[in-house]
């Protein structure tokens, strides 16, 4: 099996799992317990927290709240920040942000959605026109999970703050963390990340915040995570997250360069009369999104799966949701809108995988044309 759906989830890193296993077995104590076992685990959590923060910025200025997933981090950031006025985001957000913004309507906050460029990145000028003195929150995804387009959130945050210094700036960094070399700037108040996109386990995420930002709690209870997110900590998941991130960040630049080469190689091997490119060249090297002419991505995905290659798709074969919201917002043409395929890579991806995937995609598309032709 060739797994190229790493933007959906990655295989947990075996070494990182090994390193975290003691926290499932011997060191199973509740970190809030006052005997030495509990205190020791608490210390380990503190170190894990500090090491995760160190990849993104100055630990003295930042705080990290562990959550159950990236979506929880997004929801916490949004509902704790957008309490009145309006809130601005983009049409290219992951559902965790997009649906939360839609829900803001029911909480008397006006959601505003900025349009996208063809590659899935946000139209910054349009976004800025939506920001006014009543804006309480601006949320811009760092890497678009469907097209791989990268938004320059440092510049966007600076421009937003220049227009309204009091609003809070959040970014969903789930597809960027551990993949793009990047440091949080002072204009970015909140940043969401997730473990299972970089070799950690599902069920662990984090919300990173500027220390000086006051945020309302998301789960009330025993006061864990500085009172912002109560509930006994997912110690194993967190230790695995820290170990996976350590490994991932150690090779972040080398992976970046190599995968960029793979991404271009894959696109060059895809037949151009079938596949059109959606991902921009300056997007994340981890994602190549293409669209097949007059075919359905979901069916292609199944034919690829029969050929041993697992990829993602942008559309579902459903009359209720025939096309992806984000891909539609990118303005992809009618012939291509249903045919979206997303190849997403990990450091484990090999050149052989790329060659096989291109072969399978070309073959599957040709097969589908033949099977659905009218004589």
């Amino acid at each position: 099996m060739i797994y190229l759906d790493n933007a959906a989830t990655t295989r947990p890193d075996a070494e990182a799992v090994e390193a975290a296993l003691p926290y499932l077995h011997e060191q199973f104590f509740n970190p809030s317990a006052l005997y030495s076992g509990g205190v020791a685990v608490q210390g380990e959590l503190r170190r894990a927290r500090a090491s995760l923060l160190s990849y993104l910025g100055d630990g003295a200025k930042l705080e990290l709240v562990f959550t159950s997933c990236g979506s929880e981090a997004d929801d916490h950031a949004i509902f704790a920040s957008a309490r009145r006025g309006n809130a601005v985001t983009t049409a290219g957000e992951h559902a965790a942000v997009f649906q939360s913004f839609t829900e803001l309507k029911n909480r008397n906050v006006e959601p505003r959605f900025a349009p996208l460029h063809k590659d899935g990145s946000v139209d910054i000028d349009a976004l800025l026109t939506l920001v006014d003195e009543k804006t309480t929150l601006v949320s811009v995804v760092h890497v678009n999970n469907e097209t791989g387009a990268v938004n320059d959130i440092a510049s966007i945050a600076r421009a937003v703050k220049a227009k309204n210094p009091r609003c809070i700036f959040h970014s969903d960094g789930v597809q960027a963390f551990g993949k793009l070399p990047f440091r949080l700037t002072n204009d970015i108040d909140l940043y969401s990340v997730s473990a299972h996109k970089i070799g950690g386990a599902k069920g662990t995420g984090a919300l990173i915040k500027r220390k000086t930002l006051a945020l309302a709690p998301y789960i009330f209870g025993g006061g864990q995570e500085g009172g912002l997110r109560s509930g006994t900590e997912n110690v194993f998941g967190i230790m695995l997250f820290a170990a996976a991130a350590k490994k991932k960040f150690a090779s972040i630049d080398a992976d970046f360069t190599r995968l960029k080469g793979y991404r271009e190689k894959l696109f060059s091997l895809l037949e151009k009369d079938i596949f059109a490119r959606i991902s921009p060249e300056d997007g994340t090297p981890y994602i190549l999104t293409v669209a097949a002419k007059n075919l359905r991505g979901e069916i292609l995905q199944r034919l690829l799966s029969e050929r041993g290659v697992l990829v993602g798709t942008g559309s579902a074969c459903s009359s209720k949701h025939p096309t992806s919201r984000v891909i539609t917002a990118c303005g992809v043409g009618k012939e291509y809108i249903n045919g979206v395929l997303r190849f997403s890579f990990s450091p484990q991806t090999t050149e052989g995988d790329i060659l096989a995937a291109a072969d399978a995609a070309n073959g599957a598309a040709r097969e589908l044309y033949a099977r659905t032709a009218r004589s």
């Binding site: 069916i299 199944r302 029969e306």
Partner: protein, 386 residues
């Protein structure tokens, strides 16, 4: 004194000399419904008694009984001796402590030393002495305490009748093959026929790779939900993707659906004959969609000789949805998976296909070969294991 559930059956008493057979099937179905829960099932004259069960699971047992076709009503009550002391004690347990009430005695044991009227008066008097807030009203009582004096010196005492699902025991009215899609209608059609005592075999057509495994999982889920009533044991699936491809490639586009349905009927009949099925069951409702017109139905019917039962033919969608909600299949039915991919859907399907045109277009296809191919894709799922 022990807690029991009294089950009364519907219609079975109408069946004259076949009654023994109906009762046997009914008790097998009750046992199957209660499988996995500790209990004893006793047959009394005209009713069944569930005893020796875990009282903490009474609600669960009642829930399961309420789904068995043939159950007219049931009551949770007490089985006790027939001495006055025992009757008093049991009546006190089942009787509410306030409001209007009466006592209603039935004596199967005609040798019992007291008459029904005497028992009503004595037990009623005792209850009044115990619960001062009670008041007798023999015409419109809010509560009735029923005493059923059995012949073996036992009595059943209860105060409520719960309605059963009615119908006839599944297995007493032959065997049919339900064409189950992932939609709202077909599970309801299966429910209706099971209610009339038919054993329902489930057959689903998919068109992988044009439909996905999520759609198949949804049908499995629906099949399991329906099986709570119908006790269907299996779900069989056939892949019709290649048939769709051939129709799409060779025939008039407006007939895509009509022709596919003819294949589905043929395949269903072939399947039915292979398992001793006596009819096909579909969820069609007249005029609901383009293929469910009388012309559409005529063109499908023309390819089979087994009867096709359409229990929903005269139902409105709202009525079907109401049943679907009641039997608990609605929520699964509306999950967003397509049972038939839109790839091959014509823009303008023929609403009134002429049979001669349909047959002419079908003539372009190798029907026998396509049938064999589809039949070879058969997969069978045991509903107890999914």
């Amino acid at each position: 004194m022990q807690k029991v559930i009294i089950i009364r059956y519907a219609e079975i008493h109408l069946k004259g000399k076949n009654r023994g057979y109906f009762e046997r099937v009914f008790s097998v179905n009750l046992e199957r419904a209660l499988k996995g829960l500790k209990h004893e099932l006793h047959r009394l004259s005209g009713r069944y008694l569930v005893a020796c069960f875990d009282e903490n699971r009474t609600e669960e047992i009642c829930e399961r009984i309420s789904r068995v076709f043939g159950v007219h009503s049931y009551s949770v009550g007490l089985e006790t001796g027939t001495s006055m002391g025992e009757l008093f004690e049991a009546a006190k347990v089942v009787c509410p402590q306030e409001g209007t009430f009466k006592v209603d005695t039935h004596r199967a044991d005609k040798k019992y030393p007291k008459t029904s009227m005497q028992l009503n008066a004595e037990v009623g008097g005792y209850l009044l002495s115990q619960f001062p807030a009670l008041k007798v009203d023999v015409h419109m009582p809010a509560h009735t305490v029923y005493l059923d004096i059995r012949e073996n010196a036992t009595a059943l005492v209860f105060s409520k009748f719960e309605a059963g699902v009615g119908g006839m025991p599944v297995g007493t009215s032959g065997k049919g093959v339900l064409l189950i899609s992932g939609g709202i209608d077909s599970p309801v059609a299966g429910y209706m026929m099971a209610k009339r005592g038919m054993s329902v075999e489930l057959l689903h057509f998919h068109s992988y790779p044009y439909t996905n495994d999520g759609a198949k999982e949804k049908v499995k889920e629906l099949a399991k939900e329906l099986a709570r009533f119908s006790h269907s044991a299996r779900l069989t699936t056939l892949n019709v993707a290649h048939i769709q491809e051939e129709i799409h490639a060779k025939c008039a586009p407006e007939l895509n659906v009509t022709l596919l349905r003819r294949f589905m009927y043929r395949l269903a009949e072939k399947f039915a004959r292979s398992i001793g099925g006596q009819c096909l069951i579909t969820g069609e409702s007249l005029g609901q969609v383009a293929s469910q017109t009388i012309e559409g139905i005529t063109s499908s019917n023309a390819v089979v000789t087994l009867p096709v039962l359409r229990p929903l033919i005269g139902f409105d969608k709202d009525e079907i949805i109401a049943i679907s909600r009641r039997i608990g299949t609605y929520e699964t039915s509306v999950l967003p998976y397509e049972d038939c991919c839109t790839v091959f859907l014509p823009e303008f399907p023929a609403i009134k296909p002429k049979l001669s045109f349909v047959e002419e277009e079908e003539g372009r296809l190798d029907v026998e070969r396509l049938m064999e191919e589809a039949f070879a894709s058969k997969e069978v799922y045991d509903l107890n294991e999914i």
